[in-house]
């Protein structure tokens, strides 16, 4: 059942790409058509309106689907390092209830999960942290948290790729001056 359902999802995403209904989803596809169980996705938070902390960022995710899918949830990890209370900075592991067996529903699909992860970026839950430093900062010093997030994005180079992404409000003229811990760092996009 897993294989058939995954091919159905894949065909549907080809027909109506998730990026059309949700511009924060840049791509969602199997890494190779030879193996329908290994997927990858790119999600983004293009502007400050999209997210006050992660704006300008984009992240690559790996999606490993088991043969029990959709009875079992896939395993999704951040390949691009990200500073977030509920995401392990080193392993990319995500603490999100619906990715766990108990809260997963077989009526959900991969696109739903990406939407849930995008929501997790908007509302971290510092009470169940996988990154304690980020959780503490998020709770007590939102401005410091924003700086840490943006500094890390600059360090790992995870800013939105303007050439590849569908048009967003970010343009070349919209270069961002990022304030990182008091010092000005100029991040040039594109």
């Amino acid at each position: 059942m897993a294989e058939r359902r995954l091919f159905q999802e894949y065909n549907r995403y080809k027909k109506s790409p998730p990026s059309k209904s949700n511009p924060q989803i840049i791509s969602l596809n199997p890494i190779s058509e030879d193996n329908i169980f290994n997927w990858q996705a790119i999600i983004s938070k293009p502007t400050k309106k999209d997210n006050p902390f992660y704006y300008g960022g984009q992240w690559k995710l790996s999606i490993a689907v088991s043969r029990q899918y959709p009875l079992e949830p896939p395993v999704i990890k951040f390949i691009t390092p990200i500073v977030h209370p509920n995401i392990n900075l080193k392993t990319g592991e995500i603490c999100l209830d619906i990715l766990k067996k108990d809260a997963w529903s077989p009526a959900w699909n991969l696109e739903h999960l990406l939407v849930a992860i995008l929501m997790l970026l908007d509302s971290p839950e510092p009470d169940s942290p996988l990154n304690i430093d980020a959780a503490n900062l998020y709770r007590h010093d939102p401005v410091g948290f924003q700086s840490m997030v943006q500094f890390n994005m600059w360090k790992v180079g995870s800013f939105v790729d303007v050439k590849k992404s569908t048009p967003t409000t970010i343009t070349k003229s919209n270069q961002v001056i990022r304030d990182v811990s008091g010092s000005k760092i100029r991040a040039i996009i594109a």
Binding site: R4, Q8, A107
Partner: protein, 200 residues
């Protein structure tokens, strides 16, 4: 000797009165055996846990009826709570339960594009469809291929679409019946009950 809580029939959930329970003799031993059996078998995710939970629940019901004890009630509630929290216990339904699910004739489905939310195949494309409706209540119509929802319910007794616990829906129905029977009994023996209300 009774505590203030007992005499006023107030439950102290933070303190399940461990001291009291040790003095309860044979009945307590039986109860703890049941609980032990339940706890040691609850590690695996087999449908038999549903039976174990059922056995435990009915044993506790029985006990609480027999001596009017609040302890059984408290224990039962705390077990149900913990079951909800770690979500591991009594999660699946039995094959017998699956057999009782309401069958839906595909010809009676009005919407031509209706599909099974799990495999996402259209019901009308299936040569040999076997479609069931879950007892979610509230007038919703959550239907699935039995082939798809069966394995899911055996692991997790909730409707994939609305999260209604189908076992609980069943349990509530049964509880209502039990309560009615109990109420009928109580009316018969109200005077006697009062004498047995204070214990310890």
């Amino acid at each position: 000797m009774s505590t203030y809580e007992e005499e006023h029939n107030i439950q102290d959930r933070a303190n399940p009165r461990a001291d009291d329970t040790t003095a309860r003799g044979r009945q307590h031993a039986t109860l703890s055996n049941i609980i032990d059996t339940f706890l040691t078998t609850s590690g695996s995710d087999t449908p038999s846990n549903a039976y174990a939970m059922e056995a435990l629940t009915s044993a506790l019901h029985h006990l609480s009826d027999a001596d009017g004890s609040r302890l059984a009630q408290t224990l039962m509630e705390s077990l149900q709570d913990s079951g909800d929290i770690d979500g591991k216990r009594s999660k699946g339904v039995s094959q017998e339960y699956l057999d009782t699910l309401e069958r839906v004739k595909v010809s009676s489905i009005s919407e031509d594009d209706a599909f099974c939310p799990i495999c996402t195949n259209k019901f009308k494309d299936d040569k040999y469809p076997l479609v069931v409706r879950l007892p979610c209540g509230h007038g919703v119509n959550h239907i699935y291929d039995l082939e798809c929802v069966g394995p899911w319910l055996q692991m997790n007794s909730t409707c994939p679409l609305c999260r209604t616990n189908v076992l609980e829906a069943e349990q509530n129905r049964r509880k209502k019946i039990e309560e009615e029977i109990r109420r009928a009994k109580e009316e018969d023996s109200e005077e006697e009950e009062e004498d047995w209300d204070v214990y310890g």
